[in-house]
Symmetry: C2
Subunit: 192 residues, 2 copies
């Protein structure tokens, strides 16, 4: 048996670059040639790692979400000041959009009639809301308990708040200061 495959390692190595390209440019604007160049390999190498461009995009979606979740997980580790939800708000107000999380959603949404992309996108968005929901309920148990349904609604509204803040950033509609303020003030109102 000659040589063992390094495909998995290579995939892990290139995925951040691929995800970066999609988050930056969107699906259609990213060409496979562009991907190959950014990765420093030829196109057919990408095609040995993934079946087609769509698979690369879906892998990127998952990668981006895993990454944000990992970062969040650190935030809610052992050392805690204030409730988790409060820290999430504070963190997001500072770093929103940095990892292309929302950007890749918009890219996907305009391809939303492709069933595979839809599925990947929906899974990611639902996971996002679920994560926020956990923080909301944790926060409320500690402070002001409320209905379960209401917590879920609040979580969705918070996701929406994050989304609009990202859009205003993307389009240059609000200053950094105002964005932070918006997320903090309205976030608190929704949280309680």
């Amino acid at each position: 048996m000659p040589r063992v495959s390094q495909a998995d390692a290579k995939r892990r190595e290139l995925l951040p670059v691929v995800a970066g390209a999609f988050a930056e440019l969107g699906y259609r604007r990213v060409t496979t040639a562009e991907l190959a160049e950014r990765c420093g390999v030829r196109e057919n190498i990408l095609y040995r790692l993934w079946a087609d461009k769509k698979s690369m995009f879906i892998a990127a979606i998952e990668y981006v979400y895993d990454l944000s979740e990992k970062i969040w997980a650190e935030l809610f580790g052992p050392k805690a000041t204030g409730s988790s939800a409060e820290r999430l708000l504070e963190y997001e107000s500072k770093h929103l959009g940095e990892f292309g999380h929302s950007r890749i959603i918009f890219a996907g949404l305009s391809e939303a009639d492709d069933p595979d992309i839809r599925k990947a996108l929906a899974r990611m968005y639902a996971r996002y809301q679920k994560f926020v929901l956990e923080q909301v309920t944790a926060h409320r148990d500690a402070h002001t308990p409320a209905g379960k349904a209401d917590a879920a609604m609040a979580a969705w509204a918070l996701v929406g708040l994050g989304t609009v803040v990202t859009i205003t950033k993307e389009l240059g509609l609000l200053k950094e200061r105002d964005r932070v303020h918006l997320l903090a003030e309205m976030g608190r109102r929704l949280l309680d």
Copy 2:
């Protein structure tokens, strides 16, 4: 002088069809051939009405926003029950996304590094927030007055709420019932 140009009339006639295509499919997925077919004309006719595909898209953005605004204007006409903001919430909870308003934003956002498209998009989004803001302040003057800055923040948060509801609809993440509930409940919380 032979024959007077009908170009303006033709533009007005075709714009709804063009906008519909973009709202449905996004920018990249719409081909000029597709546009021509939907409009029942040849491609070069479209090119006599607009300089290029980008101009068609920008015209569509403006058209879609004008349309929603017109519909809203009717809502806030002479006959009034409850505050305008309350009616806006109720209306949006039922008809959200129907006119492709949000869909076209997502399409544009993934093309957001084209400066012309950015500008058109930013103008539209800012107008949207301004409109919501007017409703919020009108509502608050009548009920519970609050700071100006806070009203602006609340307006942005409401825009975000609308956006997340559209996304959940687009991705099939919430049932109709829940979406209406989300918009109504959280909308009210942000409004006051």
